[in-house]
Assembly symmetry: C2
Homo-oligomer: 506 residues x 2
């Protein structure tokens, strides 16, 4: 029943197999775009709700800004356009008309419009109108929206031309407040990634050459995938006064003097779902962290004799009623009864491939005995993977079981990260040898895996090119710097002081 | 403190004044688009959540489909392209490049892409892939998304080039099931409009010439605005096999024969917010139905003496803590403490213009006496509009008060609809005389208001032109037909049997 490709045999194909087998998304006829299907979109809804609550708790309000940005806006911030111009969808006409029996674009626009790749420029324009005095600050907004970047090698969830995200945008009276905001939002990203998505992450700052176009500082959370590559899972940017200056977001400060505001922006996207797949899925399919599972418990009737159907159905309703009052993670439990006209074996494997955390199969013997046959997805294939549990026991345990699964998923991923993060590589030579190969898949207990290296960097201005030659990247400069000095792993120069994370990446 | 324009003096300007005074939205520099600000977006979030729960209860699942639709898709359904071609945003290029120092569109696309005006064609393409057998049916999906129609006379919430909506799309094995779905969703629209938005509506079917392009039947809910005009507040379409045929959504039916599926689509949009404004707002500003108010109760500290500030703050926290357990409409109550550095009088008027249902002003005498000064927005300017209420009483009453306000808002709007829906006009001549004038504003108790007429229609094929000449429309053919015969109000022909609603409209 395994997927067509295992992680070890063909990791990129395995990734596509998981998504197809779990029915989470598919490629669309619309070039480079994806259709997010209900099992994938259901996860996104949970992710959205968890973040949204934290954004609101920290004083942010949701708004919605236009997705069409006048072309001229991109000329305002020079670095910004430089960073995005190559991958923009440009609207040039406002109607279709027939010419020689063919539909063609008509009514050219006076000024072409860009479908937002990100909204700093258009939101800055609103901020400039809203902000007059220090009393108007801070302004703290967020939007949930679709954005477009013209990817040439699209990949479901990781890189599609259109994707969904949230983008927070804030303006402050002082640099210190804006920097504190940037770091506060990064901390929310770390918290949700680790505690809701079970993705352990390394937090840090991007090197100069890899900042968001127009930012003063970009902070990020970086996760390790099962092939040892890094995935940037969220970024938070301190924009200084750059966008304020180009959009004229000026205010009268408390001393009565005009000043430019300090702004920030921060975002996470549906890419997170790609990260969740590559962290938790296995060779049988998807494994969904319970906190974001559209259904946490699936009840599958097993009817071998038609005469038993009614009795089993009634018993399953009783199971649902008993489980319903459970509140895993302090929320309403999400239960699905799968009454479709299919064999129970097919249903079991379907929910297994989808990665539903708990599947209960319920037949006549269970109904008679007051039990259920319980299977935890995470224990699939192990002797503990199949348990007969008494119904009253199940009701008492269900929230705790889901919370345990969540913890266990994080613990496994955390262990993988720690055991594949090399900190003992001290020389340029050793470093080159290490990255000469790449792992297809991080085998547990294997000491030859190639993944992350934490080591010294000199900050050499040619780093970007040297890294490209090695096909690696600097993921971040972690916040917890050691303060020691050593050989720059990238250049071999002595006296390097900066600790960085080196890795291949998505 | 009233708005610049009253409803009676200048209704269209009044509408803009309400939105500005309530800070709900504003025109954007992006031509024809709006920025939805937090007070307006907060209402949309509530509206979304209420609908979303009902969609899910009736078995629909959320998905997300690409917003870019290949141009060729619009050639598949002839009526459909006819209906939308004039107002489409067309993407023709995928990058910007510098030419003679100016940024210009570069990299033309092989096939232009249309930014979705609605998604029947692209979703039908997915359905064609998903549906093979009658066992795969029904397919019931919904998406919350942005859509684009190139409006030439944009107006906040009512007609903007980009707006937010939900679009449900379903496929069924039989026409009867698809029709039942279409009507089920219309009933959900009616229910939410009346019970959550306090918008009384007339339900019915659109006349042939006014159907959704490509539909067999379009059903709608129609609301009456305070100027007597109708607003279409939601539509539900039975598409028959039209889109299934053009996209090849075919399946093997239970008799083993190939057949085209029957599809439906249905939608409501941010336009509803325009309808809520024009139904409930008054000359002082917005009035928000409590069920969708971002904040239902606003607590405003009144500090006349700095020495009292701490005591008042502590008391307000106590008020919040006591109110917090209330569950109006079976949901968590939404309370805001307004601690901004502004005068309490300014704050009171700001929340009044925003239409927060209940504002409590709390000063030192209230803190000492265990009271609050309570104001219901709906009673503004009346002797009952200002009450001193004991705190324990308030906590006991608050949910009931909010529910009463909701009921009263619906009752007022319902009374307006009923008393301005003429059913006694029997002749073409009388009908013409009636619509020779238009009301600016439906004055209560005034018998000269011009609004809706319910009367006979012959179904004459030239109706559309005759209606245009009178600057009126047929809103719908109500479900509750009388079965009587009479003079067609539009043409004067005898023997007309169809009851319709005639009105001016948005």
């Amino acid at each position: 029943m395994a997927l067509k490709n295992t992680r070890e045999a063909n990791y990129p194909e395995w990734y596509q197999n998981v998504i197809a087998a779990a029915d989470m998304a598919e490629n669309s006829v619309s070039p480079g775009c994806m259709v997010i299907k209900s099992w994938g979109y259901g996860m996104w809804e949970k992710i959205r709700d968890i973040f949204d609550e934290k954004f609101k708790e920290t004083g942010h309000e949701n708004c919605y800004f236009p997705m069409f940005i006048p072309l001229s806006f991109f000329q305002k911030e020079a670095e910004h356009v430089e960073g995005f111009a190559k991958e923009m969808a440009v609207v040039t006409h406002s109607r279709l008309g027939a010419e020689e029996g063919k539909l063609v674009p008509q009514s050219p626009l006076d000024e072409p419009l860009i479908v937002r790749p990100t909204s700093e420029t258009i939101i800055a324009d609103s901020f400039a109108k809203w902000i007059k005095s220090y009393r108007d600050l801070p302004v703290l907004v967020n939007q949930w929206a679709n954005v477009v970047r013209w990817e040439m090698r699209p990949r479901l969830f990781l890189r599609t031309r259109e994707f969904l995200w949230q983008e927070g945008h804030t303006a402050h009276a002082t640099a210190a407040e804006a920097e504190a905001e940037t770091k506060q939002m990064l901390e929310i990203y770390r918290d949700v990634a680790e505690n809701a998505l079970a993705l352990p992450v390394i937090v840090g700052r991007k090197p100069e050459y890899d900042k968001f176009p127009g930012a003063v500082d970009t902070y990020c959370i970086e996760a390790m995938m099962q092939d040892g590559k890094a995935l940037q899972a969220g970024t938070s940017h301190f924009l200084g006064q750059n966008f304020a200056r180009s959009a004229n977001i000026s205010f009268i400060n408390s001393e009565g003097k005009p000043e430019f505001a300090y702004t920030t922006s921060w975002g996470v996207s549906t890419r997170l779902i790609g990260g969740i797949i590559m962290t938790h899925a296995d060779d049988e399919g998807m494994v969904v962290p319970p906190r974001i599972a559209p259904y946490q418990v699936v009840l599958v009737p097993v009817v071998k004799n038609e005469a038993d159907r009614e009795k089993i159905s009634a018993y399953i309703e009783k199971v649902r009623a008993l489980l319903k009052s459970a509140t895993p993670f302090g929320e309403k439990i999400r239960i699905k009864i799968d009454n479709r006209n299919k064999s129970s074996v097919d249903k079991f494997w379907e929910w297994t491939r989808k990665g539903a955390p708990i599947i209960c199969e319920i037949g006549i013997r269970d109904a008679d005995g007051g039990n259920v046959m319980l299977r935890e997805r995470l224990k699939l294939g192990t002797p503990e993977g199949k348990e007969i549990v008494a119904l009253d026991e199940l009701a008492a345990q269900i929230a705790g079981r889901l919370e345990n699964i969540q913890r266990e998923m994080f613990a496994r991923a955390e262990k993988r990260l720690q055991s594949n993060l090399r900190t003992d590589i001290a020389t340029h030579e050793e470093f080159n040898r290490y990255f000469a190969n790449a792992s297809k898949f991080l085998k547990e207990g294997d000491n030859n895996n190639v993944a992350f290296v934490r080591g010294k960097w000199s900050g050499d201005p040619n780093s970007d090119e040297l890294l490209k030659a090695l096909k690696i990247t600097i993921r971040c400069i972690p916040f917890d710097q050691s303060g020691t000095t050593g050989e720059c792993l990238l250049t071999g120069k002595p006296g390097a002081t900066i600790d960085v994370i080196y890795a291949r990446s998505y």
